[in-house]
């Protein structure tokens, strides 16, 4: 009797967590999946309507616009964070004496709430009071910077704030990668007379491929999930200029009471994230087992 209890105990200990996840994550995904094919409006309703909601969704300018915004935001966010992160890591990796002081400064924004970041940048970018006003005060009267109020340029201000928040983290990933490079390889290249820039360009940066991949996966999934920052910085505006799928889902579900369409947009977000993350995790777990 005691024997069997001992042999079942580990599974019993794991069971509550597993059941919670099974129900609250995977069960809920199925539920939302069903709602996306139902006639739900203000409250969940179970009349089956097939793919109607998806058809309606793709006809909405609001939705296609938020996807376009995500494409612009996501591309720039990932590209700038990666380039900036790599450059800062390479610069920091040159036996910088004050590295121990600089690194935490580059990284601390990651510990802040996006609401705090949004509050700070919203004010900073506000032409009436922030940077523009300060420049005028300093005597640069013609200085003009009002992207946050512009329908065409507001999305770039979201990029600016998001890059500020995450680039230090990408730097840390690359720095860890650079510290893993075998110095013998570099010495050998030096003996062959290769220049420093050439060594980085031809040897070290190509070796960072796994870090680029990790950074891409992390940043892409953060971009698709982005919600708080937009709410705090622009509230999706001006107009719908900075709406993203996450803000779309929220407003359609909870303020416009079109829950079926809201659910279908959540399913599309899930598909986008899973198509990036599932292959990555699969590959990672596989190499882990092999090693």
């Amino acid at each position: 009797m005691k024997e069997t209890l001992q042999s079942w105990l580990p599974r019993l200990v794991l069971a509550p967590s597993f059941l919670l996840i099974l129900f609250f994550v995977y069960g809920f995904i199925l539920y939302t999946g069903y709602l996306s094919m139902s006639d739900s409006r203000m409250l969940p309703s179970y009349g089956f309507v097939g793919l109607d909601n998806y058809e309606k969704l793709w006809k909405l300018r609001h939705w296609t616009g938020s996807l376009k915004n995500l494409a612009v935001f996501g591309t720039l966010y990932i590209a700038i964070c990666s380039v900036l992160g790599l450059l800062l890591a390479i610069f920091l990796d040159q036996k910088i004496r004050i590295e121990g002081m600089l690194r935490p400064i580059y990284l601390y924004p990651m510990a802040l709430s996006f609401i705090v970041t949004g509050t700070a940048w919203k004010w900073f970018l506000d032409p009436g009071i922030g940077l523009e006003q300060t420049m005028h005060q300093w005597g640069w009267e013609s200085f003009h910077f009002d992207w946050i109020k512009s329908r065409t340029h507001a999305i770039y201000t979201v990029v600016m704030a998001a890059v500020w928040q995450s680039s230090g983290f990408v730097m840390a990933m690359f720095l860890a990668g650079l510290r893993g490079v075998d110095p013998d390889i570099i010495r050998a290249a030096e003996i062959d007379g290769a220049s420093r820039a050439r060594i980085y360009w031809r040897i070290i940066i190509p070796m960072m491929r796994p870090v680029f991949l990790s950074a891409f996966v992390v940043l892409a999934h953060l971009a698709i999930k982005s919600y708080d920052l937009v709410v705090a910085l622009t509230g999706g505006g001006p107009g719908k200029a900075t709406e993203l799928p996450a803000t779309f889902m929220y407003s359609y579900t909870f303020t416009r009471n079109l829950m079926g369409i809201g659910a279908s947009s959540a399913i599309i977000m899930l598909i986008m994230i899973f198509s990036i993350i599932v292959p990555y995790l699969y590959a990672e777990l596989k190499t882990d087992r092999a090693s």
Partner: protein
Amino acid sequence: MRQSDTLPEARSSGAAVVQRGFNWQRIVLYIILLLFAVYYLLPLYVMLVNSFKPLAEIRGGDMLALPGTWTTAPWASAWSTAQIGVQATGLKPYFINSILMVVPAVLISTVLGALNGYVLTKWRFRGHGVVFGLLLLSCFIPFQIVLIPMARMLGLLGLAGTTWGLVIVHVVYGLGFTTLFFRNYYEAFPTELVRAAQMDGAGFFRIFFRILLPSSGPIIVVSVIWQFTNIWNDFLFGASFADVDSVPMTVALNNLVSSSTGVKEYNVHFAGAVLAALPTLIVYVVSGRYFVRGLMAGAVKG
């Protein structure tokens, strides 16, 4: 790819490439690095400096200047009298709400994560890989996918709008991460020690408390800091599920800043933003190393 520690300082791969005699290059390098430090610090500096200025001085213009007259009135207002939504309570009650929500959620998710990690490494059973895979994948779901059913479920449980409801939400959606941390950490723990203790007749819990737990200090810190930061900073769940007496700090701050009635008191907004940022900033300053380690573990799976 397992991250045994964060960023070893000792060895620089770039160091081998550094050539002597190009001192101006080093100077440019230092200047660039310092400029970036300024870039990262600037928003925090602007918030701090302007939170000590009277409103008239802020309107006057120079956001980088130190206050002409220092005042702590904006801080007092943000903490105890500012208008948040319909009530003029300041941020204090919401700060308390956040603490009441964060502490149990962090503790429960860390304890469960530790036990899960222990089972998934030292007491493997058929299908352990699938269980871990499902837990891991749950870290990455966009939370929009669970908002509607979670709202229903909290209603059914009678927990809608309560702090305990939020605690449950944060425990469930933090479990994947805490399990990941402990699973990776215990993976490297010598299984022979566990087997030897088993031979001596030690049971499941005895082995955990006597052998694994005493050496789990660092990973407990990582898990606690990660969960604390994430839950304190959460906005989506707070905005979706909280009610008057459970609204967390981030949501209250957003209400304070975006309220459209009356004069925009920027100095009060900044004091509020710093108050909201303070707990996670303090944790970061005190134990940044562990915070980075959590970030890396979240990014580079093991």
